[in-house]
Symmetry: C2
Subunit: 192 residues, 2 copies
C-alpha cells in the first residue's frame, strides 16, 4: 500500500537523488535545510480535510475530502519577520499565466502585505530553467497597472525580480533574496 503524507514529508526525502523531484520537493528540501541549520523556520501548511466518517476503534479516517486552503502553501519566521509565500511553475517561455494563481492565494498575500509581513511568490520557468523571487508588492503593482491582464510577461520578471540560482544545498536559496530585500528596505528607511 503506497503511502503519501499531506503537508509534511518524510526525512528520507533528504537522501533522495534529485531525479524525478518536483520543484515543490526542492523547496521542501530547502526549508528542511533552513530549519535544521537554524537559518529560518519555514513549514508547508497541511491541506485541510473535511472528515465525513471515522473508524474510531482503529483511529482511521474512512471518508474525507480535501478542502480548499484559504491561505498560501508556506509560512514561517526569519530574523523575527513573518514570511509567507506561494510556489509556482510554468512551462511557458514568454509569460506567467495568471490562472496559475488562485484568488484566495492573492487575497491571502494581500493580507500578509497589509500586516507588514514579507509576501512573495517563487516562480520557476521550467523550459528556461529560471527561477524568480517575486515580491508580492511588485507583482500587485503590475496587476493594478494592467487590470485586464491574463498573464504577466517574462520582461516583468526580468526587470523587477531577483533571480534565484539553483544550488546543490540549499537547493533554492530564497533567503538570500530576503536579505537583499531587507537591506534595501533599511537603506530606504535611512534616506527617508
Amino acid at each position: 500500500m503506497q503511502k503519501f503524507n499531506v503537508g509534511s514529508f518524510s526525512k528520507s526525502s533528504l537522501t533522495h537523488s534529485n531525479r524525478g523531484m518536483s520543484f515543490e520537493d526542492d523547496i521542501n528540501l530547502t526549508n528542511e535545510y533552513y530549519n535544521f541549520n537554524k537559518i529560518a523556520l519555514v513549514y508547508k501548511k497541511p491541506t485541510p480535510i473535511s472528515v465525513s466518517k471515522m473508524d474510531y476503534t482503529n483511529n482511521i479516517i474512512t471518508n474525507a475530502r480535501f478542502i480548499k486552503k484559504s491561505t498560501t502553501d508556506y509560512n514561517g519566521v526569519y530574523k523575527g519577520y513573518y514570511i509567507d509565500f506561494e510556489v509556482k511553475e510554468t512551462a511557458n517561455e514568454n509569460y506567467f499565466p495568471l490562472n496559475n494563481l488562485k484568488d484566495h492565494q492573492m487575497v491571502h498575500l494581500d493580507s500578509v502585505l497589509f500586516h507588514k509581513g514579507i509576501a512573495f511568490i517563487i516562480i520557476k520557468f521550467t523550459s528556461l530553467n529560471k527561477i524568480y523571487f517575486v515580491l508580492y508588492e511588485d507583482f500587485k503593482e503590475y496587476l493594478i497597472n494592467n487590470t485586464n491582464a491574463s498573464y504577466v510577461p517574462i520582461d516583468f520578471f526580468e526587470n523587477n525580480c531577483l533571480i534565484i540560482k539553483e544550488k546543490y544545498t540549499p537547493r533554492i536559496d530564497y533567503i538570500e533574496c530576503i536579505d537583499i530585500i531587507l537591506s534595501r528596505k533599511r537603506d530606504y528607511e535611512k534616506v527617508k
Copy 2:
C-alpha cells in the same frame, strides 16, 4: 452524515451561542475577528494526515490517519512580527501539569524564540476562570530553574504573566498582551 472540518471551521460558528463552546473555539473566533477587522492575520494550522487509499474517481479519501503535528497549533503575523502559540486548559486550581504540553510543541516554540518570533502559550485555568498570556521565554526560564518539575504552580503565572480578561468580542483579546510586550521591549531597547 455529520461533518466536521479539521483545521478550519465554518463561518456559521460566528453565530453560535456561547453555550457548549470550547476554549479553542473562543480562540478561533478571536482569530476570525482579528482577520476580519484587519488587526492581525492568524490561522489554526490543519492537522496533517497520511493517506493510504484514495477513490480518485470521486476524489474521496477512503483510508487515512492523522499524523503528529511537528509544530504548534497557531501562527500568523501582527505588525510584521511573526507570532506562534499553543492554547491549553487545565481544571487544576493550583498548578499547570507539564504533560499538557508535548515535547514537539516545546521544541517548536524554542525554535520560534531562536528566530526572534513572538512565542507564547495561552493557558486557561477553567475552575478559576482565569486566562494567562504566558510568554514562552518566561516559561522556559522557569523550566530551566526547575529541571525536574512536573507542573508549574499558579504563583508563577500570577507573578510573571499577563492576564487576559474574557470579553464579548473579541473573546480572548491576546493582541492587547502582545502590544504590552512590544512596548516593554521598546522601552528596554531605549534603556540599553
